[in-house]
Symmetry: C2
Subunit: 152 residues, 2 copies
DNA sequence: ACTAAAAAAGATATTTTTATCTTGATTTAT
DNA sequence: ATAAATCAAGATAAAAATATCTTTTTTAGT
């Protein structure tokens, strides 16, 4: 559904939301390590996310990535839009370009509600709301160490 | 979500379900034309679907593809499984290998019901049930001629 | 038998996505 | 100032998905 790039991006941003701030920056190596994602690929990705103002970075010793207050106010949808493009959740399941409620493909009414619900969820909650919820409900972010939150 | 190959496969099979039978076979050229899919690619795909017993073919003049009675009893899910693999609808939305109800990723409860519903819908209805429904409710298979059904 | 129509099979090409590598620029701390 | 750490930028590589091309096999009709 989402590209790998997009999945990595979401996970990285949620990770940064939980563990970083302007006084505690985190380097690519650490992030890639924690999330078990390919490091150079993630580096490129974070570069792009920085350019798009979805994350913030500083160079030099003690530099790294973090989420600014402004970054925290973005939504998951902003990430998806940035990486996978704005049409990720409004495309026809069977690839037809003119599939709508009035002219539905055979699976339109199966898929459409799903897509709408996900879109709404992703659009209406901020990253910081997501991360509060992650903390409150013990959700999983990492592969390597998937109860990382419990030992914080 | 689904690969192009899989979308083409589903559309082709629904098309064959509607318009073909053992006495009325349809060639690749016609199918590709009607569905506006790349013809040589579709040829390969139909080859594979034939090998997998999801469609039936005969060679020679007046040969072509059709759905046998047995083929009509398959489900959309059988197609997805064959082309995109059996894990298409039970993978974590964020790509985690250990995301489940007991250990959910941050978007698990947003995505999981959706995936389950689609899976159920695709698994529990036969191709022929789908095509009856297409006829009853005027659904769309092709772009080229997207009220094709109405003029039958 | 011969011809033409059609799918099957196998080889090749293109594009996109994923991933890596190398070099350059910036910044902190000494 | 210099060195080391860290991101930025650009080039390259590998893999997967998509698409095409060519040849072979089968079969119906003549």
């Amino acid at each position: 559904m989402l590209s790998n790039a997009c999945k990595y991006a979401i996970r990285s941003i949620l990770y940064l939301s939980l563990y970083s701030d302007k006084t505690k920056k985190i380097g690519v190596k650490k992030i890639a390590d924690e999330l078990e994602t390919p490091q150079p690929f993630l580096a490129k990705l974070l570069q792009q996310l920085t350019k798009s103002k979805l994350v913030t970075s500083t160079k030099g010793p003690n530099g790294g990535f973090y989420l600014s207050e402004a970054n925290q106010k973005n939504s998951i949808w902003d990430i998806v839009e940035n990486i996978d493009g704005p049409n990720k959740f409004n495309q026809c399941f069977l690839g037809l370009s003119k599939c709508e409620d009035e002219n539905p493909c055979p699976v339109h009414y199966i898929a459409a509600p799903f897509k709408n619900k996900i879109l709404a969820n992703f659009r209406d909650k901020t990253i910081s709301q997501f991360s509060s919820e992650i903390i409150d409900t013990d959700k999983v972010l990492s592969l390597k160490d998937y109860d990382a939150l419990k030992q914080e």
